[in-house]
Assembly symmetry: C2
Homo-oligomer: 401 residues x 2
């Protein structure tokens, strides 16, 4: 058999689902940009300084000694009670709610939470309200279940309220997906006022509200704001992760919800999808959190990211033409740049690679839009000098527009 | 809001998919059987002796030292090349095929492979041929995608060939799911002759063949037999795992396939489902395999399981009435007992709990069959003395039938 007949034969067997799931643009890009001379603002990798290697190694030794077999054996689907209790306490204290371990489900990274939530809620053509633009990994996870997307403009204050109310008139809406803090890709944060109003609008509807919060701990400016749903909306879900504050390689995320019925169904789906999340890593994160000054560790990360964000903003002020505007994030990992009307960031991409600098063109963050004039720039995975040089190269290109 | 209105409100939002996904019977049972006095043959847990704790701890220290950041950072979806190359070599040597790392995809346990394969292949009502009985976790994973099941009787030699040909006349069949070695739940192994004939029959059809092989390394009697599909069928998939030979808690499984197009699609689906499998655990398993006499370790496990299987068979010969028949496995973890016609193992279950012994009634291993007269007994997670006592208690009950 030849490679070709083989491939066409398998095409006949593929589900409609996989045919409508795009491979991640970022991951394709990362493969292109392997040249070590390229300065890449395309990824979304945390700086390795955020991995407390020594402390994690100490925790590994301790948990093998303390728990023995248990860290290597099969375990329960919802996650180890120790870690779930710790998270329940943390969220209860911080947000004035009353959670127990039954309100927490451990997931194999937040990406799995996005998959499971879709799996549990979506029939074909059901509606999802997403920010415009939104996180491409979420759009990818949702796409697997054939939804109808209703994008709502994300403004500098948060969701466009008129568009939100309009989108909610569609009867098939199952959930709203939002990233209120330092949004991916824009770096924007919903204001307290916007959160309140969004919450009031959603109260009138029996839908699920998913607030994805991977960066909330990485606020380097301003005060922490309340969630839109937690403690207020009966079907509220908050997604958290240790990927940005401890280690992404361990794939430990979690779902927080006061709706136990919803969590029970997500748990059944998780059981069918991967039985349970790596139990060694759960004990490891639990032990690390219990035996270290995590706040001090997170402060170090925030200080670093604030410096790097500032280095990027300074360089943009110096090297970008006035025709390019951009966001100024209060935390998180990304800046979003808007080029002059009609310019395609995607077409600019190969030219940027020639100049040995990479970014993510805006397209994959939108539902069905091509050649948009926006781009995402990540500042967490390069030092300030490198950032300055990368932005200088990009600025040269932008000045030619 | 009350718990009740909350629950009915969320019911309106659930997908048809989750409504048709049964929670795992085994896991429900395990919750019932928490009484420490109960001797449980219900689980499928490996004996903790199969976890090389000291060696794994040594490997942890070594990989943190050797690879540093890389074991904590985000990684590629298909899995780390080192581990995939090692597996490609092992399978190439053992089965006379020519595999590279591109033929291997690392999954978050084999359960995820079952989920991803369904995701990539099944539209609503597409057909799956499964053994009758089959692994309940697989039936659960597949059920999420609304398939039509075509069960084919599993005999002591393997699949019933006439029923297989009959099932294959249905046009919507996407894949065959088989566990040819020490099947779960029956402990049966397909004969060499049966494998050959099944392979010949499948050659005539453009379908995927999934051979799930979690126990293949745990053969304590007889010679290793070839796979039905690997090296022969263009759409062959073999599933492997380290859960039974190193540690299940780390959730490291893998897919072996010569069909790269199929693997590419599974990889896109995996990216959307959990980005990638825990990278620390991948390096850990790789390092452990590279620096230890794994064959000797697996021999120890096999010797232990052979003793335990024999202890159970001896006790069954002594305590079970002649009206109960049972399989005699050449490896793996399970014995399958058949009670007299008309006896419901499910109805027997609460009586067994009263006698402080547990098993899995056959029902969840069948598609839509209730009150069957079969039960699964696991012998890997109790010592021989305990096994004898548990079978004695069960025998008392069976003699009352």
């Amino acid at each position: 058999m030849t490679e070709q007949t083989n491939s066409s034969a398998i095409d006949q067997l593929l589900s409609e689902r996989i045919k409508s799931t795009p491979p991640s643009f970022v991951r394709s890009i990362l493969k292109v940009a392997v040249d070590p001379e390229i300065i890449s603002f395309a990824g979304g990798l945390p700086n390795p300084v955020s991995f407390p290697q020594e402390e994690l190694l100490t925790s590994m030794e301790r948990i093998v000694k303390t728990y023995g077999d248990k860290v290597f054996q099969y375990s329960v689907t919802a996650g180890i009670p120790e870690l779930r209790r710790l998270l329940a306490q943390r969220y209860s204290q911080r947000y004035g709610v009353n959670l127990t371990e039954e309100n927490i489900l451990i997931t194999t990274g937040s990406q799995q939470a996005l998959d499971l939530i879709s799996k549990v809620l979506l029939n074909d053509n059901d509606g999802i309200i997403v920010e415009k633009p939104s996180y491409l990994g979420a759009l990818q996870a949702f796409s697997q279940y054939h939804p109808t997307f209703y994008p709502v403009n994300l403004t500098k204050d948060g969701l466009d309220l008129n568009q939100l109310e309009e989108a909610l008139t569609h009867e098939n809406i199952k959930f709203v997906y939002a990233i209120p803090d330092f949004q991916n890709p824009t770096g924007l944060t919903y204001s307290a006022e916007n959160r309140k109003k969004v919450g009031e609008i959603l109260q009138k509807h029996n839908i699920v509200l998913v607030e994805d919060d991977p960066y909330g701990d990485l606020r380097f400016r301003g005060e922490r704001l309340p969630y839109i749903g937690l403690g207020k909306h009966p079907n509220s879900i908050v997604l958290g992760t240790f990927s940005k504050t401890v280690t992404p390689g361990m794939r430990i995320g979690f779902i927080v919800s006061e709706n136990k019925e919803l969590l029970k169904n997500i748990s059944i789906s998780k059981e069918a999808s991967d039985l349970h999340t790596n139990v060694f890593s759960q004990y490891l994160i639990y032990d690390y959190l219990s035996n270290n000054d995590v706040d001090a560790h997170i402060n170090d990360i925030k200080n670093l990211y604030e410096d790097q964000a500032q280095a990027m903003l300074n360089a943009m002020a110096e090297y970008f033409p006035d025709t390019v505007s951009y966001t100024k994030p209060d935390g998180g990992m990304f800046i979003w740049a808007t080029l002059p009307e009609g310019v395609s960031a995607l077409e600019l991409f190969p030219k940027a690679l020639e100049k040995k600098v990479a970014f993510v063109p805006g397209d994959p963050f939108y539902v069905n839009q091509k050649n948009v004039n926006t781009m995402r720039l990540n500042y967490t995975n390069a030092d300030s000098t490198t950032i300055k040089e990368g932005i200088r190269r990009l600025g040269e290109l932008l000045k030619e527009l």
